[in-house]
């Protein structure tokens, strides 16, 4: 099939003509191209990736549906995704079922409340299929202020404002780390609990004994 071959060469997303024809979700796929085609899954996102789409409201009406679909796909494709859109308030039981199904049928579950975001997931899976893991392995560069912020706010009860007060008062991390209780408490907003937490993180040994 030409469409599927083209899709697998990463030209566009194929949308299942039979099941997803009237899905408003398709309208939100704007960042990449897509086309209807006759495929088994709901969406074909590349050579190795496919996706099913499920609305919780639909699942509540026809619980058997998703089991059949999952079964039909079986172990085809390396990565199988189930995008689950939560569109009712009473979703817990259904979501639990779907979660269990996904774990044991080896589907990757994606849950969202928003159609736009659901479409964004599909786009992203399509766009990133052949990307390397570099982004995941190393941290992104940050400027000095945000580095200090992310470090200090990892201490419980220290918030953004506290972090800024601290670095504004001590100027360097070196000075901050060597500060005593009195100097720390001089910063506005740093009470005894926060001082205690700071001391614990900065000056107490990594290991006790």
């Amino acid at each position: 099939d030409l469409i599927i071959a083209q899709a697998k060469a990463n030209h566009f997303i194929v949308v299942n003509q039979a099941t997803q024809k009237n899905n408003p979700l398709n309208g939100f796929i704007k960042q990449v191209l897509w086309n209807y085609g006759n495929i088994v899954p709901d969406y074909l996102l590349g050579r190795y990736t496919c996706a099913l789409f499920l609305r919780i409201s639909q699942h509540l009406l026809t619980p058997q549906y998703i089991y059949d679909r999952v079964k039909a796909i079986g172990k085809q494709f390396r990565l199988r995704i189930l995008v689950c859109l939560i569109d009712v308030e009473d979703f817990e039981l259904a979501l639990k079922e779907v979660t269990k199904l996904c774990v044991f049928s080896e589907f990757t579950l994606i849950v969202t409340r928003n159609e736009k975001e659901a479409a964004r997931y599909l786009e992203t899976y399509f766009a990133l299929e052949n990307k390397p893991t570099d982004v995941l392995r190393e941290r992104t560069e940050q400027d000095y202020i945000s580095k200090v912020e992310s470090a200090l706010t990892s201490i419980p009860s220290i918030n953004k404002t506290d972090a800024m007060q601290l670095i504004a008062n001590f100027k360097t991390v070196h000075a901050l780390v060597n500060a005593d209780v009195k100097e720390l408490s001089k910063c506005p907003g740093i009470g005894p609990t926060k001082v205690q937490r700071l001391k614990e993180a900065l000056q107490m040994p990594f290991r006790k004994k």
């Binding site: 960042q31 390396r78 990565l79 939560i86 817990e92 039981l93 979501l95 639990k96 979660t99 269990k100 774990v103 080896e106 990757t108 579950l109 409340r113 928003n114 975001e117 964004r120 997931y121 992203t124 899976y125 990133l128 893991t133 982004v135 995941l136 941290r139 992104t140 000095y144 200090v148 912020e149 992310s150 470090a151 200090l152 990892s154 953004k160 404002t161 972090a163 800024m164 504004a168 100027k171 360097t172 991390v173 070196h174 780390v177 060597n178 009195k182 408490s185 001089k186 506005p188 009470g191 005894p192 937490r197 614990e200 993180a201 900065l202 000056q203 107490m204 040994p205 990594f206 290991r207």
Partner: protein, 864 residues
Amino acid sequence: MILEYERLALKEVEEQDGLCIVGKGLGVQRIISKLVDNLCQQQKLILGLRFSKDWLHSLEQWFLVNQDIEPHLYPREIDASYSRAERQSIYHLEQGFLVVTSTILVHDLLLKVIPAEKVSCMVVNEAEFLVDDSRIECFIIRLLKEQNKKCSIKAFSERAEWFTRGFHLVEKAMRNLKVTKLYLWPRFRVEVDQCLLKSSGQLVELEVRQTPKMASLSKAILEAMGACLVELKRRNKSIDVSELDIQNALFKSFDFVILKQLEPMWHNVSSYTKQLIRDLRTLRNILTFSTKLNCVSFFNFLMAITQSEDTSKSHWLMSKTGEKIFTFAKSRIYVKSKDNKDLERKEKKPKFTSGSSIPLDMKVILEPSPKWSVLHSLLQEIRAKTNGEKWDEMLSMGYGCRVIIFVKDVSTMIELSEIVKDAKAPEEYLRKEFQKLMKSRDEAIARAKRLLAKEIADSENFYGIEPEPVDKENVQEKTGMDLASYCSDEETLGEKDSSRNLSLQVPDIEIVTLEASTESRKGLEVLESLKPRFVIIYEPHNCLIRQLEVYQNEFTELPLEVFCLVYENSVEKDKFEKALEYEAHSFERLIREKENMVVFVDDEHSNVDQNREDTSKFGIVEVGTLNRDSRKIGGRIYVDMREFRSKLPQLLYDTGAELIPVTLSIGDYILSKSIFVERKSLSDLTSSLQSGRLFSQVQQLCRHCRFPCLLIEFPPGKSFLLSSFSELVKELNPISVLSRLVLLTIHFPLLRLIWCHSEYFCGSVFAALKSSEPIDELPEIDSLVQNDTDSKEYDNYSAVDLLLQLPGVHERNVQNIVNKFNSIQELCNADEDELETTFGSNNAKIFYEFVHSTAPNLYEGQFK
């Protein structure tokens, strides 16, 4: 000695277990101390919950003073530094008051290290925290009560308002505490009132007028808050606005009320609204500090705030009122004189002259806080009253010191210690503070120049030209000179800085800090030990005022005069009065609630019903239908020790699982041989995707089991959205959280995702997964556990978590670092060569630079 009503309260709670809520400052700590004392004398094993180190110290003091029990029964704190064997031997002594760290206590209860049947009583401090049933303390009480039904529980709280922030919170707390009695001791209760009225001293409230600039400053802040509130109401029509007025917005509980209201629809709340809520919080902080800090520190504080705010998002910051706030704050420090305006325009750089380091057109004002002068005259009056021989007489009567000044935090204390020296001190003090401010600004300029010079030098180096070191020195010299000329007594400044002490050398005057967390104990302790003739309350303090009453009734023979300094018509005063009102109101509500309360009887049967009722509310049937007797259904689950901070283990316990606390190196929960789960809260997910930590964790997970699961836990009510609305209209962003998560699943197709919006849901999903696996089939644990619990790998989690956030530290070298260095402090004080061996040269350089580089200037553009 304890007062009549305290004795009554103690008697009540000793007779029957219960929750005892006492008004702030009415001496709950003395009731507890006496209770513990009595219990210890019976030579029994007593456990304490939520007692801080500080608290234990006070308790020890009490024992030392009373001397009626032997030292080996003194309270003991048991933390991670005790090994399991040591703990066991302590428990088996079966006597004394033990305060065990919560996670260790859970561990010991689950594994039955502690002989629960020997615990005769559990004393709970700060019981207000138990309204939230996800607290680990609730789990502890449950485990204890299950293992020993006879153990009595005595709980205390002095924060009545916490119990009225929602419906039936007292009942909830009592259910969690498993007590049936509620004892209320508000200030207006007849017994208390009669007792305290017997001898009431003299309290003089001195209203201090704010300077016009201060008044307009707070007016501007209130205006900005008002604007936020109006906007908030306008944007969110559905929320109940009856409680959202500016009076309530002054309190922290306001955030609580509004978040509670927005919680059910949080996924629909716009980022604009969220920002408004943040803004209100920031503004409230600014408001509090506007009367508290002196003009220079306040300005400093304001600058740091602007740095932490996202200027493009924050609404007030860029508005007209926001500008006003800055103008007024600045105008308390300096004004621009008009004559020099033209001169300024010609020269863009700040102009320095030999006389001063500040720009010519700036006229430094440095407005002192109005309370300072009042304080001075007050002290003078007091000195005159008690001069010379008269004072000796008083000493012999039993007084300990002349004056105590109570303040609310250390920075005010340090400030006052300078101020009270003499009448000229305030000016001097402000000048020094201002000088520091200018210095940091000058430093910033110098640094900018230095950097520029370095850059030039670097580029020249590139072409083989020697850099000019002279450049740097020049700049430094210049700034140094400017400073010296502005403040002639720079040496004294240096000297002062080094000799700042917590105790004060000013004769006869003690300045005491009462911080919110310790006020309830420290206030009375200080009064009892110092026995003052006069007390000055520098910032109004409702807890302290009650403590003074209590103190006066204790020492009726020592008359006391109390002065309270409060700003006239100020927010400070409003807040003080409102807080008293609020507490009384809360007590009234609690009294009404007590009348209509359904007292539940704690037995096995009702417990099961309770479970069922609780869980059916959340739409989960399965959890409730498992009752305690069918424990075996759940089988065994390994739980990482760190996880006990969350509610999930407690809920798993509900499903009938047997929890085995261990320290896992892979994952957080091991449900069965093939299901390992790594739990990540949304914020953890974001940061660990950024730092690369999650990648290696998932890699490990995938190697060890068939169904590796990543549990993504959203904050309650804020469910299932990874990207903001604004992100969704933009193009694909390869480094957003969503993209990173997608990439992660692409590379680990085996990784299963579990999405949770609440811990209840999480528990039921675990139960569902576990139920389809063979019972009790658990993997060989040895290879997965870092070490046994007695010698845990990383004890100080917050230090290690912080370490991993520092530049140059990675999963790869963190092990080495922890082995080589003792603490973060030691690490930061190491020189570059030392670092290189553990970090690798590139990382060492990154780390060293981060630690030693100076923060960029926060004052950019403020002194133009």
